[in-house]
Amino acid sequence: MRRVVSIVGQGVLYAAFAAFVGVFSVWPSYRHLEPDQALLKLSFSHPGDRVGECHKRTPEELAKLPPNMRAPQDCPRERSPVSVELELDGKLIAERVVPPSGLSRDGASTVYARFPVPAGAHRLQVKVDDSVRAPGPTWERAVDVTLAPGRVLVVDIDPEQGGIVIQ
């Protein structure tokens, strides 16, 4: 009788163990995004313009340099921070000034940010300024988008594709 109770008890406790593992491997469900939300992602890795003008070296200056270092131009390493403004339906949702990376501030400015937004039709306006030397935004773009629930809309910078890329 005691052995039967022991076997039944073991069965119950092993079942409880398995149930605990099974239940918490799927429950409770997790809601990452509301059913009526889409996701706007602002992300770029873009080197800003140089903070100063490049200087064309004179023949005398070039002659003073070792032969393997005679670059015709002398450019400052530091780059401009990249400023970005993101407006959705006329409302500013992000305004960032992203400094260049690197100890000499000569690397790309990188950013990643996510904004859950209501699904539906929106007007998106993006302004990017990547130069401290030229006044005003370098690129500016406004688009009308219709976002389905769960849709991810990415705002990126790619000078080869005309600057601001929205897809």
């Binding site: 073991q10 429950w27 990643y112 991810v152």
Partner: protein, 541 residues
């Protein structure tokens, strides 16, 4: 004074009392050898091997490409549900159980205060295993490349990006549908194999300072666990979500909370908060052995004149605190007559035991293993080869003689107990003496025979519950020594009817008292010639 301090240090709190009662309930159902609570570490090893074995099969059929990853896992789960699906589910559920067992193991050891003093190394080396386990498991979820994998991968990258250590945000690797390529899955496979290998290395280091670590649970526990997880795999087979699509964000997910709770916490709190919690938890866990600082216990001391270099203490120490080194005191080269002249043991070898104070548990198991710990030695002051300063063998012999001398009654009984289990002093009566040792393993078997020669009619040895020795191997070694299976052994001149061994936890005082009463009654009956003829061997209860 030191002895009382040691007793005080071993007081159990409410949490440990509660846990002990739970474990005792499980003892009744499973038996101590198959009780999962008592073998959580060993259970983790078994789960690791289940995960590894099932992982090998999954790896063989996994396609490391963007297009093939999801499809190959789906093929396993659906077309081959009768084997591949079960293997996949078993892989997942064993991994979940691994986390559960790891957390319970950690909590149990902490509740019992087994992170302090000499145990710090084992505790601290266990902490990175938690993070390695989580990392290995989370990467495993990404391999499926469904919406859950997508969510977890992006959440994890967002968490890492918060550190600002990377030239370009890692999250940009998952920005657009074409961001992920086949090489990503090759990297994942590398990580999903490499991290568990690191984990295994960590598990090896974790048990490095233990003698005979418990890494293989009993067959009933192993098969019971496997059967439970296999049944779960059949009843609730693991299924993938919809395929990952980086143009869409997952909305509602069936999260595996054992591994992916940190991913959800990133959004519930923030990456910074989660980093703070993770770092603070790690630092706290690492610091626990020293919070609060444990009162140092006097460690075992070797008496070179009485150590004959036999190596039994070296073999029996549960924490590898003893090493055998070459003697440098010249005693090994002395003549026997000269050795006797200085009052030392004449049978000595070229080695000597050396105790590492940092590793010593102050359990006294070494004293119980020393052949010089016999109370029959004729020297005036009994000094053994290795001993505990707080309860030396010489003092034990003096107390024993005193205790037996004061016994009165028809049957005289001596109970040897241990400070970690039932306080045997509560069992004392005019006809029953009780002596508490630091650990039952501290008892040299010759003391049993000595007690009988001094006038005791019977000797009972008790200590922590089965498979629950505070010092891991005290019960095992004591039982083997008394059975004559381990040196130093109890001589066969002791009748089995004169000795009773009962393992009982702190809550089993009443059961122990009943065992004492029953033993006393048996001894009384044996004193009647008619009853003695039919006595059976009940040495081990």
């Amino acid at each position: 004074m030191l002895y009382m301090r040691a007793l005080e240090a071993n007081r159990h709190g409410l949490a440990s009392d509660t846990l002990q009662r739970i474990e005792e309930v499980f003892d009744r159902v499973f038996g101590a050898r198959a009780n999962p609570w008592r073998h959580l570490g060993a259970l983790a090893f078994v789960l690791f091997w289940i995960i590894s074995a099932t992982g090998v099969y999954l790896y063989a059929l996994f396609d490391t490409s963007v297009q093939g990853a999801y499809a190959s896992v789906e093929h396993l789960s659906r077309a081959q549900w009768w084997f591949g699906g079960i293997v996949r589910s078993l892989h997942r559920y064993a991994s979940d159980a691994f986390v559960l067992v790891l957390l319970l193991h950690l909590a149990r050891e902490w509740i019992y205060g087994r992170q302090r003093a000499f145990r710090w190394f084992t505790w601290v080396t266990g902490v990175p295993l938690l993070w390695l386990t989580l990392a290995a498991g989370i990467v495993g979820f990404w391999l499926v490349w469904d919406e859950l994998a997508q969510f977890s991968a992006i959440a994890s990258m967002e968490w890492l990006d918060w550190l600002g250590l990377f030239a370009e945000p890692l999250t940009r690797n998952f920005l657009r549908p074409d961001s992920v390529d086949d090489r990503f899955f090759s990297l994942l496979v590398f990580l999903h194999i490499g991290l568990p290998l690191l984990l295994l290395l960590g598990m090896w280091v974790h048990i490095k300072r233990l003698t005979l670590p418990d890494t293989q649970p009993s067959a009933p526990l192993t098969w019971g666990t496997l059967a439970a997880l296999a049944a779960l795999a059949l009843v609730l087979p693991v299924q993938s979500g919809i395929p990952a699509d980086l143009a869409r964000a997952p909305q509602a997910l069936t999260l595996d909370w054992f591994y992916l709770a940190p991913n959800a916490a990133i959004y519930a709190w923030s990456p910074a908060t989660l980093w703070f919690v993770a770092v603070a938890t790690t630092l706290l866990l690492v610091a626990l052995p020293w919070l609060p600082r444990a009162r140092p216990q006097p460690v075992a001391q070797v008496d070179p004149a009485n150590c004959n270099g036999c190596g039994r203490c070296f073999a029996d120490c549960p924490y590898a605190a003893i090493t055998m080194q070459t003697r440098t005191d010249g005693i090994a080269e002395m003549r026997a007559s000269d050795i006797a002249a200085i009052g030392a043991d004449a049978k000595r070898g070229a080695g000597i035991a050396v105790v590492d104070p940092a590793l010593c548990a102050s359990c006294g198991i070494c004293a119980g293993s020393c052949p010089s710990s016999t109370p029959f030695r004729s020297i005036a002051e009994l000094v053994t080869g290795i001993d505990l300063p707080q309860l030396p063998i010489g003092q034990l012999r003096s107390r024993l003689k005193y205790q037996i001398a004061r016994l009165k009654g028809e049957v005289k009984l001596l109970v040897f107990g241990c400070d970690q289990a039932v306080d045997v002093r509560t069992l004392q009566r005019p006809d029953t003496a009780a002596m508490s040792l630091v650990c039952a393993g501290q008892l040299p078997p010759a003391f049993v025979e000595y007690a009988l020669r001094q006038g005791a009619d019977g000797v009972m040895v008790t200590g922590c519950g089965e498979c629950d020795c505070e010092f891991r191997l005290g019960n095992t070694w004591t039982e083997q020594r008394l059975r004559g299976e381990r040196e130093p052994h109890l001589r066969r001149t002791v009748s089995p009817q004169e000795l009773r061994v009962v393992w009982a936890s702190t809550h089993e005082r009443d059961r122990l008292a009943r065992e004492v009463d029953a033993f006393r009654a048996e001894l009384a009956a044996r004193k009647q010639p008619a009853a003695a003829a039919g006595a059976e061997d009940h040495r081990y209860a």
